[in-house]
Symmetry: D3
Subunit: 239 residues, 6 copies
Amino acid sequence: MTRPSGRAPHNLRAIELIPHVSKHAEGSCLVKFGDTHVLCLATVEDRVPHWMKGGGAGWVTGEYGMLPRSTGQRMDREAAKGRQSGRTQEIQRLIGRALRAVVDMKALGERQVKVDCDVIQADGGTRTASVTGGFVAMVLAFQHMMTIGMLKSLPITDTVAAISCGVYQGASVIDLDYDEDSTAETDANFVITGKGGIVEVQGTAEREPFTEEQFLGLLNLARTGCGQLSALQRQVLGL
Amino acid sequence: MTRPSGRAPHNLRAIELIPHVSKHAEGSCLVKFGDTHVLCLATVEDRVPHWMKGGGAGWVTGEYGMLPRSTGQRMDREAAKGRQSGRTQEIQRLIGRALRAVVDMKALGERQVKVDCDVIQADGGTRTASVTGGFVAMVLAFQHMMTIGMLKSLPITDTVAAISCGVYQGASVIDLDYDEDSTAETDANFVITGKGGIVEVQGTAEREPFTEEQFLGLLNLARTGCGQLSALQRQVLGL
Amino acid sequence: MTRPSGRAPHNLRAIELIPHVSKHAEGSCLVKFGDTHVLCLATVEDRVPHWMKGGGAGWVTGEYGMLPRSTGQRMDREAAKGRQSGRTQEIQRLIGRALRAVVDMKALGERQVKVDCDVIQADGGTRTASVTGGFVAMVLAFQHMMTIGMLKSLPITDTVAAISCGVYQGASVIDLDYDEDSTAETDANFVITGKGGIVEVQGTAEREPFTEEQFLGLLNLARTGCGQLSALQRQVLGL
Amino acid sequence: MTRPSGRAPHNLRAIELIPHVSKHAEGSCLVKFGDTHVLCLATVEDRVPHWMKGGGAGWVTGEYGMLPRSTGQRMDREAAKGRQSGRTQEIQRLIGRALRAVVDMKALGERQVKVDCDVIQADGGTRTASVTGGFVAMVLAFQHMMTIGMLKSLPITDTVAAISCGVYQGASVIDLDYDEDSTAETDANFVITGKGGIVEVQGTAEREPFTEEQFLGLLNLARTGCGQLSALQRQVLGL
Amino acid sequence: MTRPSGRAPHNLRAIELIPHVSKHAEGSCLVKFGDTHVLCLATVEDRVPHWMKGGGAGWVTGEYGMLPRSTGQRMDREAAKGRQSGRTQEIQRLIGRALRAVVDMKALGERQVKVDCDVIQADGGTRTASVTGGFVAMVLAFQHMMTIGMLKSLPITDTVAAISCGVYQGASVIDLDYDEDSTAETDANFVITGKGGIVEVQGTAEREPFTEEQFLGLLNLARTGCGQLSALQRQVLGL
Amino acid sequence: MTRPSGRAPHNLRAIELIPHVSKHAEGSCLVKFGDTHVLCLATVEDRVPHWMKGGGAGWVTGEYGMLPRSTGQRMDREAAKGRQSGRTQEIQRLIGRALRAVVDMKALGERQVKVDCDVIQADGGTRTASVTGGFVAMVLAFQHMMTIGMLKSLPITDTVAAISCGVYQGASVIDLDYDEDSTAETDANFVITGKGGIVEVQGTAEREPFTEEQFLGLLNLARTGCGQLSALQRQVLGL
């Protein structure tokens, strides 16, 4: 088996986490997983949603979008169609859950951070890139809040990153690009913390059901990959 | 640890699969997982979506809804709000993928089966009940197609069922009801075929990340539970 | 003239009013007019709509929906289409008006009761079944409010039921099923109280205009039918 | 009892049917029932809806709208809110049914006539004015089709008009204006043909249920009123 | 070059500004630019939008709509389509800006005037007729507010009117009707105050880019035309 | 008067036109007007809209969007709100008209080019940057079509660019950034071809009406600015 990109099964694509790319956002990060580029912008609001008021705790949400021609085939604009697709909503719910898993909401206090992940260019793995880059944008926003005195310390309990793994032509591979993703037998996304805790696992058999052994193989690949992403996050954030 | 329902950790709730509950639908099944009741109605259409025409293959989709007062707190009607929630869309996508995983689309031919899963009463686990009952409704529709001469044989490769498992007060338990689900540390849904193949795995840490060991514990519970559901499906369907 | 069902012109279908069918709703009733089955769930809210606050009076509304495959031909889901049809809105307005006609809003106090009528299976007459079963669900909710001390007495002034009548093959018949309804010359719905007061009359000539005599014939049939429904309601509710 | 307008119980308001008020529409009529003014414009299309193609029959539909400040209190624009109210849909369905009741669809052939009824100023009775004026606009469009050779003869079987009647301060009155309508005990709308056939009856008790005698009283008033409207229609149309 | 209407290049169509055409609106004007008829109704609300509260200043907005058959080809109803077109929104934004340009918002105080401009019949130039007639309706509403003591003096700084000019068959002409507008090479709309100040200029080359000289020619025509409209406005309003 | 940026009144911001920034789009350009960054991606489709089929001519459209946090204050996502704002629609209509003004549609043949202009970061002037960068993306797509043999020659008649001018603290200035734009007395946008033809003029007095002299002053500034943009476009495109 040779991967279309020539990568070894356990090799991530070239990963870049470019911080401070926005003039306006409190935290920002352009994340690249190879040709997949996602702009992650974190906005701090000094209030929480209505249903959380007075509880003393903060909140973090994710939003997700794709530019119409971020993909090989142009898609119609969701704003013009008047509704977000099920896929979009599924992904932005995932981003929010992943980020909240490592935030100490009491320490954040009654503030909300919204992390917008907009796909500038897509080549597979946009949701995992969004989680990974979104975490960086969120922490940069927290650091900004410390700088201006809104926070005393970083309200996080760990780092968090995400990666996809799959079975491609019978072999377990990590960080699938579009060519692999569109023909893989199995596709799984893992969200894993810096300390190795599993936050989210989503595995789907595209054609044939998979076995427990196959699944564990993918999980092992993901652990290693998320470890590398985690190290990169810490380096960029100075943690 | 005592479960609110008094069940042992590995015990499913009382499961019922009641076939032929609709005067109109080609296949129908009222599925009960304890107090969770889902009406699954399968509709056969002698055509496929536009983008599949001429390919010789069939298609299966799932749709999902909840009655406004199926839950403890009444929810606004999605039809009145003018859009389906992200959760609804996520679940109906899951139902469709699960059912398609065991259908031989070439053998089905250019027909579409739509499986509507409507929650009459909710007490946790509506999506797993929907997959499990939806499979029965779909196969009943296939059997109806055989009876009227539209099909020569059942176009399925296996059975499929789904169950939730989670970590509740530190213990791994199966088939969570609402009381458990709303306070569980970890919540995972498994879709598993009769032969034991894994079709879908979705695990989410609600508060603390979980470990690989915990996850494997949940997977083992799920295997056993889906085995039981699978036996019940075969019995109801006469397979 | 023989009715497709073999019933005499003045015979209702088999009517069932099954109370207490929901684990969650404050009042609930599964109503069956033959093969037409509607689940009526009443929800009590301890507040009124914004525009009624401070007036000391309560409010009752009806909502209506049909499961996509409750009918012979599957209909698209209104939640997916993003809007409720004119027919749906017309029916839920009718249900609300009918129920409010027998409620003493001052005695109810500043509370709102929402009565959801969802058609599980349709065979003609869903709106009249909804009014008839919805009344039972509403009163069960009032009785529940008395049990928990929210109300001292039942805030109703009468019972209310509804029935359809029509001219089928030249003869006046009551409680039309789908086979009759789809080919009737005239179709009328009557909402009548237990004491015989007329709350609502809706008559439509489907092909030929009708005469005053024909209309009065239908009204007489309806009076008798609603009387029977009223007696059944009182029995189920212990009034 | 004195009516706010000083009219006798059986007196209509000043009625005007002004034909040919539009430069563009194939048939047009500005109808005035006192201060209620509705512009009725009929559009001829040389095709029928998709589901009627090839059947050889035509179709007639009604649409209805109110200008935002046609009423005493300005209403938000339905186009801005993104949906038509239940009331709007109910009324346009009524207009369509009423007009279709007197059209010979086979004689019309595969053409559709759309009758737009837009309320320029409202003072009660907009739906009955719409039916009455809409009939004139529709027939003017048929006459235009005869002039240009699309039709050989008028494809109508009768005229049709509508009027409201109600119980106001205990007395039965016809053609209620807003002051009466907003406080009437009972409100009924009647659609009656020139020959006296009843096409539609809609009666609603606003507070107290009404009796059969009261209802027949309203029906008698309506017969006389629709007779007057019918005579006026024939005169304007030269029938 | 002969204009389809036979008018000289600098001649407006027959202009009418008919005040007090509504029973309900605080200010109203039916404006006619030849066969283009727009009903302008101004509504006074004794409050401002949420974001302006407490600032002591008022607000003026415009809304715009077309009756479905105001045009040669019937258009679908925007309320039925569920959204306002880009063109509609563009025009109502223009109306609002034009009217606000001559209102002293401090003098108006915390009140909002909404000016609804609904096209009853269209023959080109509906947006310029809307601004011109909308100004009259707005000032009539201000005069009404003075009459009832809500205002001491007219809160306007000038009058404002609008006209279209264009290049038709090589010649600069004013106040284009539909026949001209649909084939003009260049189309420009001007909003000009009574004192000659320019409030808004919108020029679009439909086929060939235009020159500065052409543009100035159109502007000169517009000045003269708006002067005439301004005189007519003053006369109708008694200014 | 000193501009917030320290620029001379006739100085543009630093302009960059960066071509070939997308892996997928047939033509692409990242345009920067200082801190305003717009990603322009051109998509070629080998078909035209339904209403143009068989006419032998092509079509060009523009679409426009802003990332939620492209601005100082985060805006809600239009896709989540379910509709595009009037401003968005106004701008995308402008982009389309501007680009079509310089395309020879017959030479393009029955193909459509869609130019998506998405604002990555906003600091005033996003619509003029979109037109200017959108032109580059469109021509790059045309050049790509030539390379693959779909076109023999460039189907353009000229270049086109756009710039804003305004009166800021009494002085006429070009290319307003957000600080200027939000407080300018007058704001005008000009779309001008390489040969100096005017394609579109939009001028709005924000507070005081402006004079013809002021307007001509802005137009002169715009001519010079668009000349510079035009030269830059030609250089990037090798024209």
